[in-house]
Symmetry: D4
Subunit: 147 residues, 8 copies
């Protein structure tokens, strides 16, 4: 069995690459997927359908185009890793956690100690909370390869 | 038919009361429910099961006790109103939006124009975005009573 | 048991009233619901959330506000009656038929003989095709009251 | 991951081929499926089970045989493209949109500006509205290949 | 809690009445429902939508009209009692058993010892097999009223 | 896409082989599955778990062991062909039809004209009724290969 | 809203009554249900369908008759309280916890500190762990009545 | 079709290996999966996320990390084999049986005669009860390879 892992959340640090590299080192049978992580591309995803004057509709169109991708990948994944960084609102990451919870997909949160309190509802239905990408790799290795 | 409306999100302003009052004025057949909105009670919901030394586990226990309530009410509601205010992370509100989306429950977001961009994924699967409690009342009145 | 009947489709003739009156005459234990049937109100349902310059977004906002109502009522109903008249595209009625089919809700179509061919996919998953409101009343009476 | 794309709706222009060709050019990992697009074959799909004198039953049998195919393909697809052209009722396309909505399958509509108003309910639950096959290809390319 | 009991199957003996009477004697909080049990009415259920020359289509229309009732009642019931008598094919009763199994509704079969072998698949997913209406009443009394 | 076809019902004639051979001739991308069709093996499926004195329990154990196979295959199939022959009760075939209906799996019935009336409920939710294995092959060929 | 609470597990102490009494004192809008808690009645639930010589089949019949009740009540409940005592295997209580988890029903476990280790999987998907009936009452009061 | 078999329960005897070896001998197209069966690794699964002072939280963290694996494997499997040995509480095995029942996954129990009574609820929804690994192999061989 190949495990499909969805990497949700923060797009401004290299946590995804660290997890991917770590899993490769251990030859884990995993396939990774992510939202579009290029900020500008993501914000302008709807522009190819015509420009909008109002910010709301530009954001709306782009968010929906991105949802074609993210909804499909989240529904297909076996496990999601949901990362919260230091900056920005990152409501889309919390949204993904709620989505995973409702459909029963196991997820692991990845965030620092300073975010424990505001993320308590998100952590409540997570199956693990990690503080480093290395810990995520350790868990995946254990979950997938341990006998 | 009585409509069950769940009021999710911000707990520091009186938006809930305004919506409840507005719906009463119009005699709408609605029943409202909410998470526990007393901040201290909510944070200490798990304390009755024994104290914890670590912050993480205190938060964890409380968040789970609160989830007994919120999960049940969200799954029972016909429509959710999800409010984002100016302060705090409010990840639980975005979590609820993701939960509603996955289970197909219609929801209306309530937030100011300044939050359009960070909430674009949350708004993308909402059925309406309102900026004032009065607008929410207007929508509910239309949705429930219009012929 | 009270049966919830959703009356979908055409809004320019009095077919809804005929079915409602007919069921009352027979004292059937039914509760009826419908989309908003006032054309102008329905088209402007989103205006209370602010005006739009582009037709597409005005329609979009209104259609979503209406969906809060129609989605909830269709998911709650036991049987849907889906009416196609002589005029207009009426794609919303066909949309409702597809929605009912996917969620397994029984529905009865109500349309003239001239629409048999273009409605063949819609009729294929209907449990009955009626040509008059009186026939719909007859079926409901039989289905609900016969011993 | 290979994406399964279902191409629903109008059968009288070459929009399917344009999308298929466009995706091939970009080497997208997609598999396309469609309803039977030969009009006569589709209308006579039930004839192999015996002839019918009444038009209604001939249509009914054919529509059901076609449904074996379309239902299976729609339920298996990751994304549906639903095309509305200038002519005919095309209720089957709107039916497919309702079906996709109820089962939570993302879909993109493809139609001209003149159909905005009658398709507003169908567009309300779409994740994108395109006016040309080229735009559909652009979206699929972005959704599937963007990093 | 009131228990909804659906009485499926044979329509030529008075087993339904015996169960209903027995449950009344014990004041069980139950509501019973059944398919239409008048043979002629049931066979002609589709006639009110117009006559058919071919037997197949007359049966087809009637069976579908009856399905509006039976599908709704089976999906709403808490427990089904499925009765097989000595005569006729009674495929509709076995069909109901399969339907209940797939949707996870508990059912009790009611049939004589002579039918054990041909009903083995139907009994395999039943939660009880009774040979008399009195036994069914005993089970319902136990299930609903025992402390 | 490879289509999984489940062949349910009568085990005393060679209808399965005819369908399999016919599909091979046309190189259809199909995989067939069936219940155990050796009558004695099927009746004694539970014997390997110890002998039973009572007929009921022998049948019960065997039916459940067979259900491990049939339930799995029916849930995995894309289309079921359900065959009713001239003899025996064949309640398991009707049970499978009810199961398919409840889970939304398309099925085709295969039976003679003499069984139209007793099978009307089973045919009501079938997507096609065939009288010969050749017709089933024709339908599958059309459904899977037609452009 | 009235909350349906299912009280699963140990039947040899008065924990159920304590919870029921405690909730009554606080006038909580709750309805309680339980499996049959009379040990002998429960073990002999199948006897009314005829006696069995083999212990396995007597247990099997009784367990299935009891399942008509327990399955229905567990699927209907909003929250389950699952109690593990000092004695016996109590596998049915763990079974109920697995059932609740799979269908997404919130549950609270009630057991002593000495059972922490063997119940770790059961507690992992619980939303709270209580050690006394009074704590359960406290949680229910908080969950249902807190503002 | 390859059958996915999940081997749940007791980890102190070699029953898994016997079943795996037996299936290999018969060249059955099966893939096996299991929870982590190394007792110490399993108990310490959460340690890689940081140590805990309280036993409860150490167990809790480990049980959740293990659940990432077991939940995924149980949801993916076609058949589960659930083994109860002579020692320990083994509540996780009964939990898995309840989980399988709620999601409709067929399972076979494997236990001695002395456990018949306490396991009656677990056996009630099993499709077979075996007393030796050899019997499990026999059933799998029959279910998968018999014609």
């Amino acid at each position: 069995m190949e495990w499909d892992i969805y990497l949700s959340g923060e797009i401004h640090t290299d946590w995804r690459q660290k997890i991917i590299d770590g899993c490769r080192e251990h030859n884990l049978p995993v396939a990774f997927s992510s939202p579009v992580t290029d900020h500008e591309s993501s914000d302008g995803a709807g522009d190819m359908l015509g420009e909008e004057e109002k910010d709301y509709w530009r954001d709306h169109k782009s968010a929906k185009v991105n949802a074609i991708r993210t909804k499909t990948l989240i529904e297909n994944c076996d496990v999601a890793i949901i990362r919260f960084g230091d900056k920005y609102k990152q409501w889309n990451a919390a949204f993904d956690a709620g989505y995973c919870t409702a459909q029963g997909t196991p997820y692991i949160t990845l965030h620092g100690e300073d975010l424990i309190h505001p993320l308590k509802e998100v952590d409540a239905t997570a199956l693990a909370w990690a503080t480093t990408p290395e810990q995520v790799v350790d868990i995946l290795k254990y979950v997938i390869k341990e006998q």
